[in-house]
């Protein structure tokens, strides 16, 4: 495991915590892009260059910008005076802590059973491209269709005006 793992893990988790805990919604979006960038760097430490750069392109480049647009379009940056957390926040916190306890317990119990191949996989972007248009061409086409449908659907949903509403 590379030495870069620990600072990157701390950066990613700090970004995630900031995205969830900060009061101002715009600050949350900025912390979210820090978490996404940290995850992209973690992908790079895992020798997954293509996934890392796809993560930067899609998440830091597109999803974070979309979130900022949505915040500004909905006046979401105004902090409500009634607080930023739902009145049932305690239940949500207990559920999240329980889920983490179960996941962490499962990981720690199965440490010896987990695979541990140390050899760096010799995978180039060329191999990934060949696999995408070879073995995985049908999922690729379906994802293309899904993205087209999602783009059109998002525009129609967001543009919809009620008849008679002025």
């Amino acid at each position: 495991m590379s030495i870069a793992f620990y600072p990157l893990a701390v950066l990613t988790l700090a970004g995630g915590l900031g995205a969830v805990l900060l009061k101002n919604t715009v600050h949350c979006a900025l912390a979210l892009s820090v978490a996404f960038a940290g995850l992209a760097l973690l992908f790079l430490t895992l020798d997954a260059q293509f996934a890392g750069f796809a993560q930067i392109l899609v998440y830091v480049g597109a999803v974070a910008i979309l979130v900022v647009f949505a915040i500004l379009l909905t006046k979401g940056s105004e902090t409500p005076e009634s607080g930023i957390f739902s009145h049932t926040w305690f239940v949500g916190l207990i559920i999240a802590a329980g889920v983490f306890a179960v996941l962490g317990w499962a990981v720690l119990q199965s440490v010896n059973a987990l695979p541990n191949e140390s050899a760096v996989p010799a995978i180039t972007v060329h191999d990934i491209g060949n696999a995408l248009v070879g073995r995985y061409v049908l999922p690729l086409e379906i994802v293309a269709l899904l993205l087209t449908a999602a783009t059109i659907g998002a525009v129609i949903v967001a543009l919809h005006e009620k008849e008679g509403a002025k």
């Binding site: 495991m1 969830v20 597109a62 409500p80 695979p115 191949e117 996989p121 990934i128 967001a158």
Partner: protein, 103 residues
């Protein structure tokens, strides 16, 4: 602790943070942010298992992560479009105040 276990623990912690955000925040956009964090934690798991698994040349985990990133992008676009549509009709994104199904 093996490297894979460390990555899995980080992903589990990130998933729990995202779940806590999705369950406790009042703003609908922040709930979507929590869901995005959970999806990303799952992607980290997939890539980590691909890297330390026995057959990385089969590219299974890598492909799963790439398609998951594409689907998450579509989900984010539709989700934020829905939030904007709800804001148009309810004039708020506070989930505690959006408590009726009538349009």
């Amino acid at each position: 602790m093996t490297p894979l276990a460390s990555y899995l623990l980080v992903a589990a912690l990130l998933f729990a943070i995202g779940l806590a955000g999705a369950l406790t925040r009042r703003n609908a956009i922040l709930v979507l942010i929590g869901i995005e964090l959970m999806l990303n934690a799952a992607n980290l798991n997939l890539i980590a298992f691909w890297r330390y698994g026995p057959h990385p040349e089969a590219l299974t985990g890598m492909m799963f992560a790439i398609f998951s990133i594409a689907v998450a992008a579509a989900e984010a676009a539709v989700g934020l479009g829905l939030v904007i549509a709800i804001y148009r009709s309810a004039h708020t994104t506070d989930l505690d105040q959006i408590n009726r199904m009538k349009g």
